[in-house]
Symmetry: C2
């Protein structure tokens, strides 16, 4: 019999997302979130470094999978194939979370600081992937350019998937995105 109800952290995340969606990010105070989760504000800040972080708590669990999907394959394989692999893996992790991701995205878009934190997170992923590619022997330049382009393209696919309920799956969109990027550059560079 634990002294306190368990999973305070999970209840805090849940309360936060609900209240943000219901009353907006600014109007929701940390006290509100904590009260709804049955704890004090001090406890909120023990679990999350700040009010924003409650929306990004699970982000760091994603990167290891991406890095693994780059490190795993044995034998010679192109950087583009590895990039494709990583992004597809990311797409498959995100796919089942669609409804949560949509709600989260709606909240994030209401606030510049949240948008920024989201982008900063993507930048860390991008850097991590580039480093993993470099460790597989590709040049820093190729790795970084490819990672930058890959994520730029992925984010576009993600947003179109979140906006369009009925089109192709995220994984499908991502699969097509990288080859299409090359096509676009081909076309635009041709005169």
């Amino acid at each position: 019999m634990p002294r306190w109800p368990e999973d305070s952290r999970a209840r805090l995340v849940d309360s936060a997302v609900t209240l943000f969606a219901e009353h907006g990010y600014h109007s929701t105070t940390v006290d509100h979130i904590a009260a709804r989760a049955g704890v004090t504000a001090r406890t909120f800040f023990r679990h999350f470094s700040d009010k924003e972080e409650v929306l990004f708590a699970d982000d760091d669990t994603v990167l290891p999978g991406m890095l693994a999907s780059i490190a795993e394959p044995t034998g010679p394989v192109s950087a583009a194939e590895l990039m494709q692999r990583t992004l597809t893996q990311l797409a498959e992790v995100m796919q089942p979370q669609r409804s949560v991701l949509t709600a989260r995205q709606r909240i994030i878009e209401t606030d510049v600081a949240l948008t920024g934190r989201e982008l900063a997170k993507q930048a860390r992923w991008q850097q991590g992937v580039a480093t993993a590619l470099i460790e597989r022997g590709f040049t820093a330049d190729d790795a970084e350019v490819l990672s930058a382009i890959g994520f730029a393209i992925f984010v576009r696919a993600l947003h179109s998937w979140l906006a369009d309920n009925n089109g192709p799956t995220l994984a499908d969109r991502v699969r097509d995105a990288l080859p299409r990027a090359r096509t676009v550059l081909d076309v635009v560079s041709s005169r």
Copy 2:
């Protein structure tokens, strides 16, 4: 004879950058900045919506120039040429600011929130450029992909320029970046 010393805003920016560089972003309070500029904290918040904004005050003056450099050219011109034009224009605006930009970048890198705000700003630019391209008749898809790739590449060039004092100019790096991006995609897609 004005009632107060003029240019409070400029003095606030100057004080802020100096103090951030000297004592770090977190350790510097708005009161410190205001005191050094000879005003009160309340005045600081009249000029800047929050403590971060003092580092990004001039950002919105840049976009109009970029949009103009896309809208200006008459006659048929490829999207890639327009992208090249815009980024080169941006590079030329930034080039004389090198020392300020370096100091600013050093500060931004010390704080996730600042990094995020910087990225959010870039995202706004990217969206603005994409819109301008669309208005010139290119498809939304091509415009957005090209803008995304263009800025991803530009940021890489910018960072390498800031890190390397003695190499090529920013404009030169930018000029080479887009064609090189295509080369990288060619190489990585070829096997």
